[in-house]
């Protein structure tokens, strides 16, 4: 057992911290969020330069051959900086999915492009009636003369506003809710019949809804084999869950630090408010939540690459449910302890709070994952 990052990982962490302090402070972030793109193209270029976009990919595609612990390290730092760039979508969700299941041609076309920062992708896997259920797919994919014809809607596609390609889950057989019959297809943004409706998210990034009206995709657009895509998508989403747990852990630490500073400097009744026991004990609870959440983020990271779906389900659902609750506790306490300053846009505190809250609601909230985890419990195990 080893609970620390390696020397190499610590060096990367240090580089990231310096980058965040220099090029990604809260004011700069405001500017990135308000820009037409919704994030910083320059930061994205720097991520490519630092090798962040190459982390999980094999060396033959210019990658660095890293694992989910490397991603954890990056996401913790991205959490502290409230990073807006489409890293989760492009690298963690779509890039890794393509690495695992893409054809040789797909991999050699896309992975080097991702590594160089030239292509961004988004996963379109959720639908309105399915809530968090990835198997609830109504969007249809019909094979016709060697091509695929896609029709339907996809909701809340993270980073979908700017992605140049989408990975779309669509039903080529069976009924919504069936595990079989789901196919995954690569659709370029400019495909005929595809409408992309972009919008801002609560934390200042961009997402989109997709309307597909007889969108035609070639046979080379299919990722993996037809009808068998659900396990691939679930695996990709589990990796993203681990990444979100790490991001949340980073935010929790940052929020705790900000709140602690506030308790030591804000004066009322002639003394620092951190001298009041009612507030001290809330802060102690926040520290405990931070430690426990970090442990869960580690559990999530070390299981995220597992090919055993049952093992992943237990670890990832436990982690997501736990971190969701811990994030809620820390976020709400941080706002409360900041008083009026907690509910204004001016301080980063409310922005951390919003991101933490939305992380819980992404890829299944605490209740959803509690149920998933609970369903794995057996007598005597």
């Amino acid at each position: 057992m080893e609970f620390n990052y390696s020397e190499e990982q610590l060096a990367l962490q240090d580089t990231l911290q310096r980058f965040m302090a220099r090029d990604y402070d809260f004011d700069k972030r405001r500017g990135f969020s308000a820009s037409p793109l919704g994030y910083s193209a320059e930061a994205w270029r720097q991520y490519a330069e630092l090798g962040l976009l190459a982390l999980p990919f094999p060396k033959e595609f210019d990658g660095l051959g890293g694992n989910a612990v490397d991603i954890m390290l990056v996401m913790e730092q991205f959490g502290q900086g409230l990073v807006l760039e489409p890293y989760l979508s492009t690298v963690v969700l779509c890039g890794s999915l393509m690495r695992d299941a893409g054809s040789a041609a797909q991999k050699s076309r896309f992975l080097p492009q991702i590594v160089q920062g030239k292509s961004t992708l988004a996963l379109a896997a959720y639908e309105a009636a399915g809530r968090y259920d990835l198997s609830y797919v109504e969007c249809s994919a019909q094979e016709s003369g060697g091509n695929w014809i896609l029709s339907g809607r996809k909701t809340v596609v993270l980073d979908g506003a700017s992605a140049d390609h989408f990975l779309v889950s669509a039903r080529s057989g069976g009924e919504p809710g069936d595990r079989d019959g789901i196919s995954l297809l690569l659709v370029p943004r400019d495909a005929k019949g595809l409408s992309v409706v972009p919008y801002a998210t609560q934390w200042g990034s961009r997402a989109a809804d997709l309307l597909l009206e007889k969108v035609s995709a070639g046979s080379d657009a299919l990722i993996g084999s037809a009808g068998d895509a659900l396990p691939l998508i679930e695996r990709a989403v589990d990796r993203a869950i681990a990444a979100l747990c790490a991001e949340a852990s980073g935010i929790i630490n940052a929020l705790n630090q900000a709140t602690l500073n506030y308790l030591k400097t804000r004066k009322q009744f002639g003394v620092a408010i951190g001298t009041f026991q009612a507030l001290k004990h809330k802060m102690a609870d926040m520290l405990i939540a931070a430690e426990q959440a970090r442990s869960m983020a580690i559990i999530a990271a070390v299981h995220a690459d597992s090919e055993d779906a049952a093992d992943r389900r237990r670890a990832l659902s436990a982690a997501k449910a736990y971190v969701g609750r811990a994030g809620r506790l820390v976020g709400q306490h941080a706002v409360q302890l900041h008083g009026g300053m907690g509910v204004v846009d001016e301080l980063i505190v409310s922005h951390y709070f919003k991101r933490l809250t939305m992380i819980d609601l992404t890829f299944g909230d605490a209740d959803h994952h509690l149920a998933s985890f609970s369903d794995t419990l057996r007598p005597g195990a």
């Binding site: 057992m1 990982q9 802060m283 559990i299 509690l370 985890f373 609970s374 419990l377």
Partner: protein, 403 residues
């Protein structure tokens, strides 16, 4: 970062497990499996078996006859111990007094007392709390007045655990009333056979005799039994409490309790179906299990970091104490709730090993049922002893957060 056990650690676990299978006496194992009362004799017998194997003190350094195991090995040992239903070792001797004696005691004290603890010859208990000094421990008033070659001790200690079995007691006593109250405290070792000591049982809410009041009426204690320096006892006392709390996370015990809870929820019926199939109840188990998954890693992270970076335990053990005590309480509560109205009977004699039950009650009142409600009531102590949860939060905010 890696949470997998190494091949060596797996081998170590197999060795520990094989030892417990071969050497743990069946009668003791059965008592723990069924939650029946265990006696001092059971615990001492087990300590002697461990001692013969060279495992008498899993968390002592080798220089004092301990195993010298690292944090992960200690964790594995404790996990296997709880899972094998082996009794705990006396924490007052091994986990509280011993680290103080090893760090602050003199050579004569170390050479005389430590081997006797290791072999199970001496049973120690703790004299810390007093009727007027609970959370405010430093206000303690039991006095020790130096008279030639001995101290004369007068006063009362309370919440003393298992002192009815003890050969010795380590006590915080007041040797000075000058300056801050922390500055006049000394750490004394007192022979329980000394004239003037009276042990009075306190019956707990589960009906059991686990704790005592101890009265000191002009008890003579040789000055050689002072640990370290006179009036420096508060430093040793805090050091001891940090060690006590580090053991309070009780991950191994919690894992065993969780397994038991799932077994019970698999056997208890609701509408004729196993209770564990009821998702409302199962979700409550799931919540505690998630807390425990996190605590296991937090516990190992925190203890490894303090071993590696500082070579000593620090205030972060308060985090472990708070979480561990909450989890064991929640598990005890869920076991009781799993019983439903079978939690209501109070069959005191059912805690004795020779209880055979009666056929009518036995038809629904299973062998695991008798101790469970009492355990829930008893476990409320865990967020109170060794510094209440509120005191731990004070420590966290002061020592870690700097508030």
């Amino acid at each position: 970062m890696d949470l997998k056990y190494t091949a060596e650690e797996d081998k170590f676990r197999a060795e520990v497990r094989a030892f417990f299978e071969a050497e743990l006496p069946t009668d003791i194992r059965t008592k723990l499996q069924l939650g029946r009362r265990i006696s001092k004799d059971d615990m001492v017998r087990w300590q002697k078996i461990l001692f013969r194997k060279g495992w008498g003190a899993p968390d002592w350094p080798q220089a004092f006859g301990g195993t010298g195991w690292n944090i992960v090995q200690q964790h594995i040992f404790e996990e296997e111990r709880a899972d094998a239903c082996a009794p705990p070792q006396n924490p007052f001797s091994l986990k509280m007094l011993a680290p103080v004696m090893q760090t602050f005691g003199n050579a004569a004290q170390q050479e005389y007392f430590l081997p006797r603890i290791l072999s199970g010859e001496d049973w120690w208990c703790q004299g810390y709390s007093e009727p007027g000094s609970g959370s405010d421990l430093a206000s303690l008033r039991t006095g020790a007045v130096r008279q030639g070659g001995h101290y004369l001790v007068n006063g009362q200690k309370t919440w003393n655990t298992m002192g009815q079995y003890a050969d010795w007691i380590f006590c915080l006593v007041r040797t000075s009333s000058e300056g801050r109250q922390q500055q006049g405290i000394s750490f004394l070792l007192i022979d329980m056979k000394s004239p003037g000591i009276t042990v009075r049982p306190i019956i707990m809410l589960d009906g059991e005799h686990e704790i005592n009041d101890i009265f000191f009426d002009s008890v003579k204690v040789p000055v050689q039994n002072l640990i370290g320096e006179e009036n420096k006892g508060w430093t040793y006392a805090k050091f001891l409490l940090t060690h006590e709390r580090s053991g309070n996370a009780g991950v191994g015990i919690c894992k065993r309790a969780l397994k038991k809870l799932k077994e019970i929820a698999g056997q208890q019926l609701s509408n004729g179906r196993p209770l564990i199939e009821d998702s409302r109840f199962r979700d409550r188990i799931a919540r505690v299990e998630m807390e425990l998954m996190a605590l296991e890693i937090t516990n190992l992270r925190v203890l490894s970091a303090s071993a590696k970076e500082k070579g000593a335990l620090g205030p972060e053990v308060s985090v472990l104490k708070i979480k561990g005590s909450e989890i064991i309480q929640q598990l005890a509560e869920l076991k009781m709730h799993a019983l439903g109205h079978d939690a209501l009977p109070y069959v005191r004699e059912a805690l004795d090993m020779d209880w055979v039950g009666n056929p009518v009650l036995g038809a629904h009142y299973r062998s695991y049922a008798p101790p469970i409600s009492g355990q829930y009531f008893n476990q409320r102590k865990t967020t109170i002893y060794a510094g209440s949860t509120e005191i731990q939060k004070n420590i966290i905010s002061q020592m870690i957060l700097g508030l």
